[in-house]
């Protein structure tokens, strides 16, 4: 059986990539997708640990995480739609109406 470090490293890689995407991409949709990627990394961890502990709790939490991801995607995309309708842009560094 594979040692769990493989999964941890994989999820760490995906997590880092996702963080990079969230921090650097201008497109809000890509940011959201990167967030999804991060959540996936988390899921990998959870499932791997549940596998290694022989209990499904990790998978349960993974399910909750997916639920959360679904809700977050729905609301986030709704916000993006509304914003695009008003501002004609999806670039994060043009959404600075909260400044000072």
């Amino acid at each position: 059986m594979l040692p769990i470090e493989n999964y941890l490293l994989l999820s760490l890689l995906l997590f880092t990539i996702g963080v990079i995407g969230v921090l650097t991409r201008r497109n809000v949709i890509v940011m959201l997708m990167s967030i999804e990627l991060i959540l996936n990394a988390v899921n990998i961890n959870l499932v791997a640990f549940s596998r290694y502990w022989g209990s499904v709790d990790g998978q349960i939490f993974a399910i909750f995480v997916i639920t959360d991801a679904a809700a977050e995607a729905a609301v986030g995309l709704g916000i993006i739609l509304a914003f695009f309708r008003n501002r004609e842009t999806v670039l994060a560094d043009e959404m600075d109406m909260l400044r000072w």
């Binding site: 059986m1 594979l2 470090e5 493989n6 999964y7 941890l8 490293l9 994989l10 760490l12 890689l13 995906l14 997590f15 880092t16 990539i17 996702g18 963080v19 990079i20 995407g21 921090l23 650097t24 991409r25 201008r26 949709i29 890509v30 959201l32 997708m33 999804e36 990627l37 996936n40 899921n43 499932v47 791997a48 596998r51 290694y52 022989g54 499904v56 709790d57 998978q59 349960i60 993974a62 399910i63 909750f64 997916i66 639920t67 959360d68 991801a69 679904a70 809700a71 729905a74 609301v75 709704g78 916000i79 993006i80 739609l81 509304a82 695009f84 999806v90 670039l91 994060a92 560094d93």
Partner: protein, 166 residues
């Protein structure tokens, strides 16, 4: 042997497509690569004998959320956005910081390497779906309900947000 091969295949696929997703200029391509990454993740779940989660991952993530993403992308897609700079001003700092963060987590693994004594994985009981269902509807009933309420609220919020005249 086959198990390891599957894992490495899926892992490589996931990492590569994730990198591609972050770097692609075309949003639709990025979405496609994310789908690939998610599918690879699903494969890893399968390889971890979490069949139910494997299916849920595909149905919910790939079949639901990503469809929604592509949907919105097609609604808001602007050809001009293809020719814009895809990365913001803080890209270098941010990249470096993210890498530092990853390295730190890695260091955390390294520091805690001794404490992770799992030994060999115990065999999951074959009826994975039933097990998940049992746990979900008995042990984790309340979180389940809360999650359902969360979904309801999210749905209403999304509808209100996306309505023509907010």
């Amino acid at each position: 042997m086959l198990n390891a091969a599957l894992f490495y295949f899926f892992a490589a696929l996931a990492v590569v497509s994730a990198i591609a997703m972050v770097t692609r200029r075309n949003i639709v391509h990025a979405a496609v690569f994310l789908i690939t990454a998610l599918l690879a993740t699903a494969g890893i779940f399968l390889q971890l004998q979490a069949q139910f989660l494997f299916v849920v991952q595909i149905i919910l993530y790939v079949g639901g959320i990503m469809v929604l993403f592509i949907f919105v992308i097609m609604l808001v897609n602007l050809d001009v956005s293809l020719h814009l700079v895809q990365f913001n001003r803080q890209r270098f700092v941010a990249g470096v910081l993210a890498v530092i963060l990853g390295v730190q987590v890695l260091g955390a693994f390294w520091v805690g390497r001794g404490s992770l004594k799992l030994g060999a994985a115990r065999a999951m009981e074959p009826k994975n779906t039933e097990a998940v269902g049992q746990a979900l509807f008995q042990q984790y009933m309340l979180p389940f309900e809360i999650a359902s309420i969360l979904l309801l609220v999210a749905m209403i919020g999304a509808v209100v947000m996306a309505k023509r005249r907010v």
